[in-house]
């Protein structure tokens, strides 16, 4: 199957940001897909399937991350991850913008 690339930008919306538990959820979802998944903030790009890498992003509420999936299920992967970050918000309380 041809390699496909899908890229989305997401905003961290849960109040506590991407701490360890959300990072683990992210890795769980990302690992369900065959595609290679990278996540970038302004400074670094990390492996979306590695918990150590994801915890390094230290993304606070309001941070924007770019998720890039590359592989046969790239679109499905970015859809699921965007849903986890922005809609499910890692099952955590939302951030109240001041």
């Amino acid at each position: 199957m041809a390699e496909k690339v899908s890229q989305v930008e997401v905003e961290i919306r849960n109040a506590n940001g991407m701490h360890m538990r959300p990072a683990m959820q992210f890795v769980d979802v990302a690992s369900r897909f065959a595609s290679k998944i990278n996540v970038s903030n302004q400074k670094i790009t990390v492996d979306g399937k590695s918990i150590m890498h994801m915890a390094m992003l230290a993304a606070a509420a309001g941070t924007k991350l770019k998720i890039t999936a590359e592989g046969s299920d790239a679109k499905e992967a970015t859809d699921a991850l965007k849903d986890l970050v922005e809609v499910k918000m890692f099952d955590e309380p939302a951030w109240q913008k001041e």
Binding site: N16, M18, R21, I51, A55, A60
Partner: protein, 156 residues
């Protein structure tokens, strides 16, 4: 944020006595109490909270490392302790392997220092050499030097 700024040089245990997860957490909290980083009357409640958090989801992230942590109202200033276990501790890690390096991180509820400290800790931990040297360290000074060196050379 630098890892050496968060891990108090007095809160380093090169040879953890504990062989069980909860005991190791309590051992690290006890050394923070001894060095005055947390107060005696709060330490039991903080230990309970860390263990509760650990029961909800293991912080044993694999490769022999666990990072038990919590944001707690009784913690006024971010502080961390580090312990090395020669025989390994069962943390119900993701990769099912024993843990040789335990980094306990306590943060206040407010502020974003918690995430910054995690960033710094994980940046170092994902470095194979850092984990290897940490595990091989036998004295407080060796660990202290390693932390300072890691902060100075982020890409070594």
């Amino acid at each position: 944020m630098k890892i050496a700024d968060v891990i108090s040089s007095k809160a380093i245990i090169p040879r953890l006595q504990s062989v069980k997860r909860d005991d190791a957490i309590k051992e690290l909290i006890a050394i923070l109490e001894k060095t005055g980083k947390i107060s005696e009357e709060n330490s039991a409640e903080i230990a309970k909270a860390v263990i509760k958090r650990e029961n909800e989801a293991s912080t044993g992230i694999g490769k022999g490392v666990a990072v038990p942590h919590i944001r707690h109202k009784l913690v006024k200033k971010i502080v961390a302790a580090i312990g090395i276990s020669a025989r390994g501790i069962d943390f119900s890690s993701l990769d099912k392997q024993p843990v040789y390096t335990v980094i306990l991180l306590l943060s206040p509820v407010e502020g974003d220092q918690h995430l910054q400290a995690m960033e710094s800790i994980f940046e170092h931990l994902q470095n194979d050499n850092f984990r290897k040297f940490l595990r091989q360290s036998e004295t407080i000074d060796q660990i202290k030097d390693l932390l300072v060196e890691a902060d100075q050379n982020p890409s070594w």
